[in-house]
């Protein structure tokens, strides 16, 4: 009973966060804002993994969450380096 309520809550919150983050990514004032929105999107994805694990009762989804956390870390660092490097090339000049 409380399990399905919890799953419903997590899915609703994650969907709301996904919509807000994707809209932010589409109309962001700067490149850094897009990367921040990507960060929030990955947080929502991890929350959806937790909801999937709870509703199906399989621990397997937590492994997916571990993988997503790692991929999000690497992605944010690489995008930060891209922003860092491309500073003088396009907009800054």
């Amino acid at each position: 009973m409380s399990l399905s309520v919890a799953v419903l809550l997590i899915v609703a919150a994650a969907m709301l966060a996904l919509v807000l983050a994707i809209a932010r990514m589409l109309k962001a004032p700067s490149v850094a804002d897009r990367i921040i929105a990507l960060d929030v999107l990955l947080s929502a994805a991890i929350a959806l993994c937790i909801a999937a694990g709870l509703s199906s009762g399989r621990v397997l989804f937590m492994d997916v969450a571990i993988g997503l956390a790692l991929v999000g870390f690497v992605a944010t660092i690489v995008w930060a380096r891209v922003v860092d490097r491309s500073g003088d090339a396009e907009e800054h000049a």
Partner: protein
């Protein structure tokens, strides 16, 4: 046990929405980043703990520990690198200058 888990999940879900709302409401890129990183980390930790309390099985707990340790170790590093890149790009001085008139109230409730 169930009630505490459900409470943690409610708090985590609310914080996740607040983190996404912070992307829209906060004045400049660094403040938005604080909202996304801090509230995101705390909400995921709360959701994981609540899920562990609700699931009540052995295999969950060490995976939850791994995810939380991973998030706490990696998210600040990634956030710091992104903030440094944004500051080097010169994104912030203009935006901070724009946000200057509403500085005292924004500094108070934006940072919690």
């Amino acid at each position: 046990m169930n009630t505490i888990g459900l409470l943690l999940i409610v708090l985590g879900a609310a914080l996740l929405v607040i983190a996404a709302l912070g992307l829209w409401t906060l004045p400049d890129a660094l403040a938005r980043q604080h909202a996304a990183t801090k509230a995101g980390t705390l909400s995921l930790a709360l959701l994981l703990l609540g899920a562990g309390l609700l699931a009540e099985s052995e295999g969950w707990w060490w995976r939850i520990g791994v995810v939380i340790v991973l998030l706490v170790c990696t998210l600040p590093v990634a956030s710091h690198m992104l903030a440094r890149a944004a500051a080097r790009r010169g994104l912030t001085p203009r935006q901070i200058a724009e946000a200057q008139p509403m500085e005292p109230p924004a500094a108070g409730d934006g940072e919690r």
